[in-house]
Symmetry: C2
Subunit: 645 residues, 2 copies
């Protein structure tokens, strides 16, 4: 097995996952194949939807003598005629539905191994939401015990060990932690079907968050039984990689159609509110005229078309950096989902989520309501502003109210007014206080806020402004007179220098500007845009400013200066000795060679690559969080840009 | 031409529109056909998308000698080989793009008539957003003058007269009013393309609202140049019936794909985030390998698939009563659209929108954020509560805080607690104060609110509660002791009677309960659900309570009592004498026979049908607003339920 992060957004990730039967991309959906009755064959699924991973049930195969024989003889891939990755379930869900199912936990694991399942699942104890904490604890203890035993039997098969713990986050987290310490390969989050059936999305989110906290970040996470695309984007944003759907078939049998806003009964519809091939080929009356079996098939196909399109949308959003925007849009369709989003506002979750959030993005931040103010990016901006921004000049002025939004559009107007004056402003904006030195940094210049905003957002802004004023010791200058005095004192270069200095501190931490700019500074601007491009210190190139996000790219000399000035482990990614020669050649750092990393580094931050003795080797850009670097066996941890020969 | 409302939600409507070339359903989209170069032929559009109305350009046809000759000889339908409804544009947009186009306003109307266009368009003056008010005023004056002259020339052709007036709502409204007084058939809202191109949706919304205020409600309204489905739902909710799209082709030529959240460049995509036949048939790499012309065609098809599916979704939402929910969801995709929604909070717009809002719905109201509290339904509930709810008993008690939401789920729990006590409660809920007597009425029982709500919503609620307390003279009873005293004094029948009385006043207005319940009351309950079903007064059936929305259905005796008690014109729909015999036979009232109507009646309200001398004839349910009844020539105004023989 390999599992490797290729793209990321929020705590979501787009990974490449390989098994003996090929590679699949995540997030992805495993359609559930009932070996007894296939509404759509795996072959057709491959053709129509490009399905290259699915799930079937070893318990059902094992119980049916004929299927059992066939599977043991020819393997599960031949049994269902599918040659991609097959995951098998163990009968746990059946035990939840039917009670005792008389299956031996080890036997079913051996059976899955023997029929050639790519990913088998242990027979875990399904924790229901109604359980007491004691009952649930007993269940997770037994699940962990079975996981330990089952792992001995897995052979070449990958083994999935579901995280249980009912609605008790502390049990979920502990269960996840213990399972992660074993040699398991794949982590479903189990026991959540009853939560989803009752739209208890708030509880679902707490379960996912707790499990993710405890889990090894380098292993795939599967939200077991999640088949409705309504919740895919949120689950992905929290770090789920796989879903499985029997919903496509069950809903179709029940005459129900899946939409991104929920589910509609086919009989209640007068038109088909969808553009999938089924809904575009048939009119609703044509569909009504089909015989029942045919119609059910068409509804099932519709359900899968919609589900797979949502996964493509989610993957597009991850690549584009607008996964949170998508999550918030989807939440607008369902008040329970909308409510579940609010769990993410809680401080501990926000802190957890912030570590995954990319340092910057190329896409603008879009405001969708008060929830936007609780996005990890905004939270990080506020935190860094209060802790890192150094108001070097106590002439900073709070811009009068009434001009709240701060977006690329708004910013353009502001710039025309302000750059001419070369005064240090703090704009009291929707996103919070924006010192003018920072106004080209993501997400400030790259955000779109409406002019009129709700009270909740206004209050958050005020709160942050007060906090900032306290930290920053800002003097309010409101009189025009003083503005004019100020104007006469400053030169364009002064302001540029202040911008460079402030951005350096915001990006690399306090003290960074002193290290980087200690000498005679030359600022080279783009002739076309007039924006800062390169910064030289004593004639040596130390920094370049990126046009897209207003962040710096480190040059080797800049890295050296930061390394001299900032104490270990700040900005460092430490690599093992065997990787040193490769990095010196300019090769990227693979995660398996990382031995330590500054926990304050975020994905896509500029970093210093050092050896175990903190000898400076290279500068580059991180691709992973610290914890990911330390767990992943595959993939790039740091893209090296320049290295010392 | 006929134009008839079939279904409705918000200020949107699902209509049947017929011309000489057949019937089309609205809201609908007219794809723009360039007669010089058809990327997709009308024939293929009919086959693929069921297109039965489209728009082409008479200016282009007229300028090309060959097309002109062909069109004059065989008609525009043969020219483009399409036998549905054809609308033609006049060259106004070309004059906006290219300046003076040297077309005679009357000649182009005659030309459209002569080539057999079903809907021709006058050569109006395109009002640009940059115009001064005077310039714009001159333009509308000229547009109105041309409309007057052009109407003389229209013959059998329907004539579209665009509403202009730049960004000046008062000019738009006045222009609309003047055009409506003429014998025009179809009203585009013109001059809005520059607003949409710059995402000035706030201005767009103001333009639409102003035009709609001034327009004859019985004529189709077309948002000229609107081809991106992102804004369809909002425009429909404000009363637009038609859109036209050259965007599908223009965007495709530009390598851009339309999505419900905006537009993406094909070259930037790595996957196709859509389920349409194009995106489900091709992978993105297959699409890349097509030659440029083929790929452009596929992108255009995708753009149309997405656009038509959105129209089906909107029509489904109208039928299902969740158009506002859809509008709010879509607004989550774009901050400018989100901002435009906030225009609807302004008191004058809210009052205007409220008149169209159905009296009740079968679908639950879904909360999506602070904007939900400004929906016309919620506004109406607050207004009626303060003006109509009669706190008959000054023992009403404010339920303790901390139990804010009010939804069908929450309600069930409350009911268990409260019905046993038979005390009159007011729940201080998210939607505002809810007297327990009203708790089964739409939207109270039929709404879903999240548990945690934003500050803005909380403040609206508090504000309404204060207003209600002032109006209702409610006594706060917080002590358990008093609760117990209260309990002992009341019987279940007392509470039922209070419920019946309160609902009657809320639904029909103050005094209704006195009229309806003046006598010996019998309340018949459903044996299955225990809910109130029928109310008899002195042994005669006066009211039935509908399970779905908690509103009353009037019986003939109930109607008679209300007619006796409430002064003209309250609850009345007045019909002309020639319709009286039909209504006496129990036939429905067609709008052309309505001569007056109580302006406080809303669509789907129970009403009294009377003749011009206010003689009571029948009870029924309205289907239209007063203004619609007085303008529409086709369709049902009141569905009669029972009539006096």
């Amino acid at each position: 097995m390999t599992f490797e992060i290729k793209e990321r957004d929020a705590a979501g990730r787009l990974c490449r996952f390989t098994t003996r039967h090929g590679a699949v991309i995540t997030p992805n959906l495993l359609p559930v194949i009932n070996p007894n009755k296939m509404m759509i064959t795996p072959k057709e699924m491959k053709q129509r939807f490009g399905v290259d991973i699915l799930i079937t049930n070893s318990y059902i195969i094992n119980k049916n003598p004929e299927l059992r024989k066939h599977a043991l003889m020819s393997g599960v891939h031949k049994l269902i005629d599918f040659h991609g990755t097959i995951m098998t379930d163990s009968g746990t869900f059946q035990s939840y539905i039917y009670g005792d199912i008389n299956v031996d936990p080890l036997e079913i694991v051996r059976f899955q191994r023997d029929i050639g399942s790519d990913i088998g699942t242990i027979l875990d104890i399904f924790g229901t939401p109604g359980q007491t904490k004691e009952e649930s604890q007993q269940g997770t203890t037994e699940t962990i015990r079975r996981a330990k035993e089952s792992i001995q039997e897995k052979g070449e098969m990958l083994l999935a060990c579901p995280v249980q713990g009912s609605v008790y986050p502390e049990l979920r987290e502990e269960c996840a932690r213990q399972l992660s310490s074993l040699n398991a390969d794949f982590f479903p989050i189990g026991g959540v079907v009853p939560l989803m059936e009752n739209q208890r999305y708030t509880d679902l989110v707490r379960c996912i968050l707790a499990a993710k906290r405890g889990l090894d970040p380098s292993k795939p996470v599967h939200l077991f039984g999640a088949g409705h695309p309504l919740i895919f984007s949120l689950a992905v944003a929290l770090g789920c990689d796989f879903f499985d759907s029997s919903a496509y078939a069950k809903y179709a049998q029940d005459g129900r159609m899946i939409f991104l806003w929920g589910t509609e009964k086919f009989d209640d519809l007068v038109e088909l509110p969808c553009c999938c091939p089924v809904c575009s080929t048939y009119t609703i009356s044509e569909l009504r005229q089909l015989d029942a079996k045919d119609r059910t098939l068409q509804l099932a196909l519709h359900n899968l078309y919609v589900s797979y399109a949502e996964l493509r949308t989610i993957r597009t959003a991850i690549k584009g950096g607008w996964l949170w925007e998508l999550v918030e849009q989807r939440a607008g369709a369902n008040p329970f989902l909308f409510e579940a989003l609010q769990v993410l506002r809680e401080q501990n979750h926000l802190v957890w989520l912030e570590q995954f959030e990319p340092a910057s993005k190329k896409t603008a931040l879009f405001y969708t309501g008060p929830q936007t103010m609780y996005r990890p990016t905004v939270f990080r901006y506020h935190m860094r502003l209060c802790s890192r921004f150094d108001p070097l000049f106590n002439t900073t002025m709070v811009f009068p109210e009434g001009t709240k939004p701060y977006s690329m559009f708004y910013q353009r107007q502001m710039q025309q007014i302000l750059t001419k004056k070369h005064v240090n402003f703090v704009v009291d904006s929707t996103i919070g206080p924006v010192p003018f030195e920072l106004d080209e940094m993501y997400p400030l210049a790259q955000s779109v806020f409406p002019m009129s905003i709700d009270k909740e957002t206004r209050e958050i802004t005020q709160h942050i402004m007060q906090r900032f004023l306290k930290t920053g010791k800002v003097i309010h200058w409101k009189e025009d007179m003083k503005l004019k005095q100020e104007k006469s004192k400053r030169s364009p270069f002064d302001f540029d220098l202040r911008r460079v200095s402030a951005v350096a501190d915001m990006q690399f931490g306090r003290g960074a500007s002193d290290a980087l700019l200690n000498g005679r500074i030359t600022i080279i601007k783009s002739k076309r845009t007039g924006k800062i491009r390169n910064i030289l210190c004593d004639g040596v190139h130390v920094l370049s400013m990126r046009a897209e996000d207003g962040f710096f790219t480190l040059k080797l000399e800049g890295g050296r200066r930061l390394h001299n000035r900032l104490n270990y482990p700040l900005l460092r990614v430490v690599i093992t000795n065997d990787a040193v020669p490769f990095v010196k050649e300019g090769k990227s750092v693979f995660s398996k060679f990382v031995s330590e990393c500054d926990p304050s580094l975020r994905p896509f931050d500029e970093c210093l690559v050092v050896d175990r003795d903190d000898v400076f080797l290279a500068i580059g850009r991180t691709q992973l969080t610290r914890d990911e670097m330390l767990s992943f066996r595959h993939g790039i941890a740091v893209k090296t840009r320049e290295s010392l020969k």
